[in-house]
Symmetry: C2
Subunit: 196 residues, 2 copies
């Protein structure tokens, strides 16, 4: 709300993009925002809370974007967008979906939890539309959504950490793994096929 608060978040996000997670120090954030090195403590509970505010804003921006271009994206497109975002902004991805200590209760962490819940429900809604259209198997939509997210998240994280494509064997791009899953999910037995 207050201008210096958003200035601090801006500075932290910029440092994150430029120098990775290790470059985001409270002192550098204050320096870049034009305040003293401990002014952040008047706006955030500490370093972790400031980082949570950055993650919450990033998650909110990501959720707000696809709504304009396309009213009802399908689950496959959402997971492709997820992977694309992770590969393009590795530091934001690692921060947003990294570990958040459940005990601490700063304002930024609360915002982050709410933004994450909103993103999750959007994916579940897309899965339900896919099930209604017969493109995805029946069953608990929360669980199908979790499976899709697990593949996208795991593929992106493994790729970023160099654990996916061993030696230039091009065939393990994370987007391909997302497609493999959805192709497999779409290949379920149709109702008319009872020849078993």
């Amino acid at each position: 709300m207050t201008p210096t608060r958003v200035r601090l978040i801006d500075a932290a996000a910029r440092l994150l993009d430029e120098g990775g997670t290790t470059a985001v120090t409270l002192r550098a954030v204050g320096r870049l925002a034009g305040v003293s090195h401990n002014a952040p403590y008047k706006h955030f509970a500490g370093k972790e809370d400031l980082l949570a505010a950055v993650a919450a804003r990033e998650l909110g921006d990501r959720g707000a974007r696809p709504d304009r271009s396309r009213a009802e994206p399908d689950a496959r497109q959402l997971m492709h967008a997820y992977v694309r975002w992770a590969l393009r902004y590795p530091a934001r991805f690692k921060l947003t979906f990294g570990a958040w200590s459940p005990g601490s209760a700063g304002s930024g962490i609360a915002d982050l939890a709410a933004a994450a819940a909103a993103a999750r429900s959007g994916l579940v809604a897309a899965v339900e539309r896919g099930q209604a259209a017969g493109e995805l198997p029946a069953g608990d939509p929360d669980r199908v959504a979790a499976l899709a997210l697990a593949v996208a998240h795991g593929a992106a994280d493994l790729a970023l950490n160099g654990h996916l494509s061993p030696a230039g064997k091009g065939h393990a791009r994370p987007q391909d793994l997302v497609d493999d899953l959805f192709d497999q999910l779409g290949r379920q037995l149709p109702a008319r096929c009872r020849c078993g």
Copy 2:
């Protein structure tokens, strides 16, 4: 090789298990190992190289264990073991499959790359056995293995970070997602079903 080197790795692993990744400081490692706070620099290029040595040993131990109890584990069992290990030792999991700067070339990092390659080839071999037994779909075994690993890794990582089961809705245990994938992979159209 040298005794102090393994003592330093022991100390780092113990600090990692007890206090998480932030507890592993070079000074605390030296203290626990009974040497000065910068003796590690005679055995490792720096902090990252010591951590890589810890990760390489962990990965090697994980690879050596299942060989005794079961000669040829299948891919599903390997992925279940992967998830079980990640949930039980979160800090080791995050360290082992975390980010390793590709530029640096310490001895520990080289060991880690070799151990990761060995683990990967073991999974690919299990996938090939599953394909031969008709339990897994045909196609590039490297890619099927990558899909299985992506689900296991993503499910474990999301679960550890609280992004999987939203509000006590029990139905998103990472092991269940691994089963969902393998159940789906086993539900491929049999050759005799040509009624489409």
